[in-house]
C-alpha cells in the first residue's frame, strides 16, 4: 500500500463532506427564500447538475494524473499565461478560505459565543486548519473519514428528532415556483456544492489512483452530499415553514432548536453545532491546502509548509472583514458568488480542456510528454 495514496472510500467521504461544507448552514435559507416550498426541486436539479459536473471533473482530472491543477496550467499554457490562470485560481482559493472562515466567525459569534471576539474564533479554527494542512493530504483524508462517521451519526439522529416537528402541509402546493426562481435556486445551491468542487483537482489527480472506483467515489460522494443537503432543505421547509426559514440566518441551527421529543430530548442545539463545525472543517482545510500548495507551486517552492503560517496570518486578517456585514454576505452569495464560481469551476476547466485537446491533436508527438499519466 502506498503511504501517500488516499483510498477510494476516503475520497468519497472527502467529496461528500466538501459538498456539504458550509452549504448546510447558510444555503437553506437562501434557497427557500427564492424557491419557497419548491426548494427541494431546486435541490434535486442541483444534484443532477452536480453529478454531471462530478463526472466532468473526474474526466478533466484524468488529463493530468500526477499533477495538480496549477501544475497543469503551467504545463499547458506556459510560464506567463499558465501562471496567470494559476494566480486567478489562487485568488479564488484565498477568497474561499477567507469567506468560509468569516462564516465560522459569524455563525459562532451570532449563535454560540456572542461576546467572544471574532478574531479568537477564527484564530482557533484556523490553527486546526493549518495543522491539518501541514500534516498533509493523507492526514486530511483520514480525519475526513472519521469526521464523516461522526457527522453522519449526528445528522441522522438530528433528522429523526426533527420528524415530530414537521408539518407536511408546508410543502404544498408543489411546483408553484417559476422556472427562473428554480433555476436561480439551483444555481446558487450548485455554486456552494459542485461548482467549487474543482479544488479537489489540487490533490486528487496526485493521490487517488485513477480508474472506475475514483469516478464512482466522485459520483457517490456527490450523491451523499446533495442528499444530505436535500434532506436539510426539506426538513427546514417542513418544520420551520417557508415563511420563517428565509428570515433566519442559520435555518439549520434554528431547526435544531425546535427539537423536542417527549419534553426530554430538547435544548440540544449546542450538540448540533458539531455538525456545522465538522462540515466546515474539511472544506476550509481543502481551500487552504489549495491556497498554500498552489502558491508554492506557482513560485516553485520545494515545501509548501514554509508559507502556511504567513499565508494563514493573511487569511486570518482578511477573514475578519471580508464581508462587512451579514447583508453584504447575503447579497454576495446570491448575486456574485455563483457567477464567480461558475467562471472558475466550469469556464476555465473547459477552456483548459479545449486547449489541451487542441494542442494534443496538433502535436501528437508531444502527447507522451504532456501526459505521462495516461499510460501509467
Amino acid at each position: 500500500m502506498n503511504k501517500n495514496s488516499i483510498t477510494h472510500q476516503q475520497f468519497t467521504k472527502i467529496v461528500a463532506l466538501d459538498i456539504i461544507g458550509v452549504s448546510i448552514l447558510s444555503v437553506p435559507s437562501i434557497v427557500i427564500d427564492i424557491a419557497k416550498q419548491d426548494a427541494w426541486i431546486a435541490a434535486l436539479l442541483a444534484s443532477f447538475f452536480g453529478l454531471l459536473l462530478a463526472g466532468l471533473l473526474y474526466l478533466f482530472g484524468r488529463l493530468f494524473t500526477g499533477q495538480t491543477l496549477i501544475q497543469f496550467c503551467q504545463h499547458l499554457l506556459g510560464k506567463y499565461l499558465g501562471n496567470g490562470i494559476a494566480l486567478l485560481y489562487i485568488f479564488f482559493f484565498f477568497i474561499g478560505s477567507t469567506t468560509l472562515l468569516w462564516d465560522i466567525g459569524q455563525f459562532t459569534t451570532s449563535s454560540v459565543l456572542t461576546d467572544t471576539p471574532r478574531l479568537v474564533i477564527n484564530f482557533t479554527y484556523l490553527i486546526i486548519v493549518i495543522a491539518s494542512v501541514r500534516l498533509g493530504v493523507v492526514t486530511i483524508a483520514r480525519s475526513a473519514e472519521i469526521l464523516f462517521l461522526v457527522f453522519l451519526g449526528i445528522y441522522v439522529v438530528f433528522s429523526i428528532l426533527i420528524l415530530p416537528q414537521i408539518h407536511l402541509e408546508n410543502i404544498q402546493p408543489v411546483l408553484e415556483a417559476t422556472t427562473p426562481a428554480l433555476g436561480q435556486a439551483a444555481f446558487i445551491l450548485l455554486s456552494f456544492t459542485s461548482l467549487t468542487l474543482f479544488r479537489l483537482l489540487m490533490f486528487y489527480p496526485q493521490h487517488v489512483p485513477p480508474g472506475r472506483a475514483t469516478a464512482r467515489a466522485f459520483l457517490v460522494g456527490t450523491l451523499i452530499g446533495n442528499g444530505v443537503l436535500l434532506v436539510i432543505i426539506v426538513l427546514s421547509i417542513l418544520a420551520l415553514g417557508t415563511q420563517l426559514s428565509p428570515l433566519l440566518a442559520y435555518a439549520g441551527h434554528t431547526l435544531a432548536r425546535v427539537i423536542s421529543v417527549g419534553q426530554f430530548i430538547e435544548r440540544i442545539e449546542g450538540t448540533m453545532t458539531t455538525l456545522w463545525y465538522i462540515s466546515m472543517l474539511i472544506r476550509i482545510t481543502l481551500y487552504f491546502h489549495c491556497l498554500v500548495v498552489g502558491f508554492a507551486q506557482v513560485v516553485r517552492l520545494s515545501d509548501f509548509r514554509v508559507v502556511t503560517l504567513p499565508l494563514g496570518m493573511i487569511v486570518l486578517l482578511f477573514s475578519l472583514f471580508i464581508y462587512p456585514d451579514f447583508d453584504y454576505a447575503a447579497k454576495w452569495n446570491r448575486e456574485v458568488w455563483p457567477l464567480y464560481a461558475f467562471t472558475h469551476g466550469v469556464l476555465f476547466p473547459l477552456l483548459l480542456a479545449i486547449v489541451y485537446w487542441f494542442r494534443n491533436s496538433s502535436l501528437p508527438a508531444a502527447e507522451q510528454k504532456e501526459s505521462p499519466s495516461q499510460t501509467s
Binding site: L113, T114, P173, L240, G241, L244
Partner: protein, 403 residues
Amino acid sequence: MKKTKIVLLLIVILTVALTGCWNRRELNDLAIVVGIGIDKKDSHYVFTVQVINQIAIQSQTKVESRAPVVTYRIETDTIFEGIRRLTTVSPRKLFFAHLRLVVLGEVLARQGIEEVVDFLVRDHEFRGDFFFIVARETTAAEVLEIITPAELIPSVSFYRTLSTSARFWAPTHSVQLAPLVTDLLTPGKNPVITGLVVVGNSPSKDSTQNVQKSAPPTQVLLFSIGLFHNGRLVAWLNEGESKGYNYIVNKISSSVAPIDGPDGQNIILEISNSTTKLRSQNQDGRPMIMIEVNTEANLGEINVPIDLKRPGALSDLERSLENKISSYIFEAIAKAKSYQTDVFGFGGVIHRADPQTWKRLQPNWDQEFVNLPVEIVARVKIKKSGDIVTPLREAIQKSKRAQ
C-alpha cells in the same frame, strides 16, 4: 526541535485561554428569567421580568419568608432599549434561555405585537420554546406579580397549565414563537394567542400569603382565545368559539363536551380523539372550504335518566354532539369573519389546493374571507360508554322497581 514546537503551541493555547473567558457566566451569576411581561402605557413600554430567586428556592436553607421569584419593572420608549435596560435593574445577568412565558398586555396586543416578536426572533438567547399569553383586561405586570400555589415559580406554573390544558381542555391554545411568526407572515393566516384572566384580585396576590391558603385568594384562569389581525388583537373568542377554533385547526386531542339531555340536564361526553380535515373545493369557480371533523367520544358523566341500551340512544347522543361541534365551529368562523381575520388558515388551504385561484384571491383576502362559503361536516362516534352501560341512577331505580 519538536520540544520547542510543542511548547510554542501550548503557549498559544494558554494565552488564548488566559486572555479569554469572554462569554463565561457562572451559574450563580445568572438571573434566570422565566417570564417577561410587556405592557404599553401611553406612549412608552413597561417591562416586567420575572426572575427566579435562587436563594428562596434553595432546598437546604429554604427561606419561607422570601418569594420564590423576583419581578423587576422598567419603563422605556422602545422595546430594544427596554430589554437592554433591564440588565441594569438586576444584580445578576439576566438569562433568557429558560424563558417560559411572554405575557403581553392587552393594550399592547391591541396596538400590535410585531416589534416584540421581531426582537424575540432576532436575539439568539431566546430559544423560542416559550408560550405567548395575552393578559386579558389587565396588564402583563399584574399577571407576573401573582404568586402561585401549586408550582413554586409562577411562570412555570402558567406554562404547565397552558400546555396541560391545551392537551386536555379544548378552549385554550398554546402558541410558541415559531408558529406565531409563521402565522404572522403567511398570507392567508392570522395568529391567535390565548388570553389569561386574573380572578379574585386580592391585595395579597403578590405576596407569599397568597399561597398559604388552600384556596388562594387570587387565581389565574386561562381563558379564551384572542384573535389577531395584522399583528393586532381584535377580538376575544368565548369558550364555545374557542373550542370551535381548536376543532378547525385540529388541535383537539382530548376535551369534554356537555350536551343537553332530554330534560335540559347535561350529559357529559369525553372527547378522546378528534381529527379535522380542511379541504378546499371549487364551486363554480369560487373556492369553498370543507371542514370535516371526525371525533371519537366516551361517555363521561350522565345526569339524566336515559336508557342507553335502547337502540339508537347512542346515535342520538352522537347526533347531538355533532350539532354541538358544528355550532361551535360555526360560531368561531362567524366571529372571525366579523373581524375579517382568517385565523384558521383557510387561505393556506386554498393556496395548497389551488395555487391559481389563490393568486387571484390573495391581494384582497380579508374581504374574500368574509364571503368565503364554509361547509361543516362533523362525525361523532361514541366508542366506550364507560365501565357501566346503564347510568347508575337508572339502574338503581330499575332494581328498586323490581323489588
